[in-house]
């Protein structure tokens, strides 16, 4: 398929500037990666409301908590692996437990980080954040949704985590597409199987659906950008209508979107499922697209999973 691509990070920076203009209580923190996370765009417009915390992410999260406890809407950004792994206890104790209004918005999630290798890639961040009570977890599908989600996070009172990729991602939504925390988006109708993805993997689900159509399999595609809370109604409908689900995420299959969906399905109306994602492995250096192929984050893997689910039904 021919896709147009756009940058999520750029739209994050753009949304922050709009928020800064509209609300006086928006404060942005970064840990020496403001050029990469694009919080530097905000810093340029609102230097007084931006604080670089240096390479000290744990302190950044505590500082964010103090600002939020004083009535600020705080965005704290760095790479996904540092934002969630290095600071998990600070987020748990100082942000999630007291339910403070801190938005942890991370870039360079997944393995499409590329050349930096496994130390800078993140296949665990969604799992780490999803397990925290009070936490909202969003994995936007593309640039436009990132813009809307950033604004939605500011409107939501409470701790949130959002992750973005480093690369430009295929455009799935436009300015008119609705976004609401807790609501999934039907991208494509279908009746034989449901493909639920988030982030860049929604585009792989759409590619898979195109190919499956040629095999007379009608695949429904859903953008599950809201990992927590999950859109349970859309899962119920998918189960009833299609009787099988394949999930796809640029994240470890352990405790990510696939597990969230599988837990819900298993406890309500079990149907055959498969999860496509990183198979409990670290990544390595390489080009983003090369890595996606090597680690099975492809339409082909989704199609294989669909065929297996259909056989098991």
């Amino acid at each position: 398929m021919k896709w147009s691509y756009a940058s999520q990070r750029k739209e994050y920076g753009h949304a922050l500037i709009e928020l800064g203009k509209a609300r006086k209580n928006v404060v942005v923190l970064d840990a020496d990666l403001s050029g990469s996370t694009r919080t530097a765009d905000f810093a340029k417009e609102f230097p007084e409301h931006f604080f670089n915390c240096g390479i000290a992410e744990q302190n950044m999260m505590g500082t964010a908590a103090g600002l939020a406890a004083s009535g600020k809407i705080v965005f704290a950004s760095t790479f996904a692996v540092f934002a969630t792994g290095r600071c998990w206890d600070q987020i748990r104790q100082s942000i999630a437990y007291p339910k403070l209004n801190v938005k942890i918005v991370a870039t360079h999630a997944g393995i499409t980080v590329g050349g930096d290798g496994a130390s800078h890639q993140s296949g665990e961040d969604v799992a780490l954040m999803r397990t925290l009570p009070n936490m909202t977890v969003i994995v936007p599908v593309d640039a436009s949704e990132t813009f809307k989600a950033t604004k939605a996070l500011a409107d939501h009172n409470g701790p949130c985590y959002m992750r973005m990729g480093r690369l430009d991602f295929p455009i799935i939504t436009d300015a008119e597409t609705p976004f609401k925390i807790g609501k999934a988006l039907l991208v494509r109708e279908g009746s034989d199987i449901t493909l639920m993805g988030n982030g860049v993997m929604v585009s792989r689900c759409v590619e898979a659906a195109e190919t499956l159509l040629k095999k007379n399999i009608s695949a429904r595609v859903i953008n599950m950008s809201s990992v927590k809370p999950l859109d349970e109604a859309i899962i119920d409908a998918a189960v009833k209508k299609t009787g099988g689900i394949v999930t796809a995420e640029e994240h470890n299959v352990v405790s990510g979107l696939g597990c969230a969906v599988a837990s819900y399905v298993a406890e309500h109306d079990p149907v055959p499922m498969r999860r496509v994602g990183l198979m409990d492995t670290f990544g390595e250096s390489g080009e983003g697209e090369e890595l996606m192929r090597k680690y099975g984050l492809t339409a082909e893997k989704i199609i294989e999973a669909v065929e297996e689910v259909i056989r098991r039904r």
Binding site: G54, Q58, N59, A65, S70, Q90, Q93
Partner: protein, 278 residues
Amino acid sequence: MVAIPDDVIIELEKKANLIRRHVIRMTRAAGSGHPGGSLSSSDILSALFFKVMNHRASDPSWEDRDRFILSKGHAAPAYYAALAESGYFPVEELLTLRKLGSRLQGHPSKSKLPGIEMSTGSLGQGLSVANGMALAAKLDRKSYRIYCLCGDGEMQSGQIWEAAMLGAHYELDNVTAFVDRNKLQIDGPTEKIMSVEPLPEKWKAFGWNTIEIDGHDMRQILDACEKAKEMKGKPTMIIAHTVKGKGVSFMENALSFHGKSPNDEEAKKALKELGENQ
């Protein structure tokens, strides 16, 4: 500096002892908790809650209040006693400490009890939060101050020094922090477990206005807080030399009472020493 009359000092010392008696009763009733580090910080808490800080128990979220963060969250019994005696909640509720359904969690929880500015307990995190509140005050052109009480064991946490750097970098002169330097942590003396000295030199090197005091001398505590208020462009760290278990002879410098409550007999003896009938 305005001289503080003797009767004010005596009153604050009495309140500190009242906090100590509550600590003994509370940890006895709970059957667990941390009396040692609560007793060492009782004088500092008395000074802050009954003299130094502007706060209103009738309006815990008053915008211009001074903020207090107990970074050493395990001293919660003394903190709760100071809050109750300030009028944030009924004094009788103190005896519910650590009980199922109580607002007095084993470590302070912001969402449960009025007056708690921040949930703490996982050590090394409070100073970062104090810095965030101080940045917010500066942004809002507010003159309230942030007070933070750290334990000396916390000085072993990397995050404390990250916060030390940030506080100096952003010139957070609205932060007054204390180290309750009682020289003991759960496993033994701090200098045996993991040396934190030379503490004053470290804080000075990190760019903080550093003051050393006897943390049980009420006048020295108040003077240090005044000096911190006068300092421009630098946050203040008050290194308060204290005695773990202060005020109860058999608990003083006794490692065993870091995280163990007194039994009935010990509690009785302790209360007697603390002037139960005062």
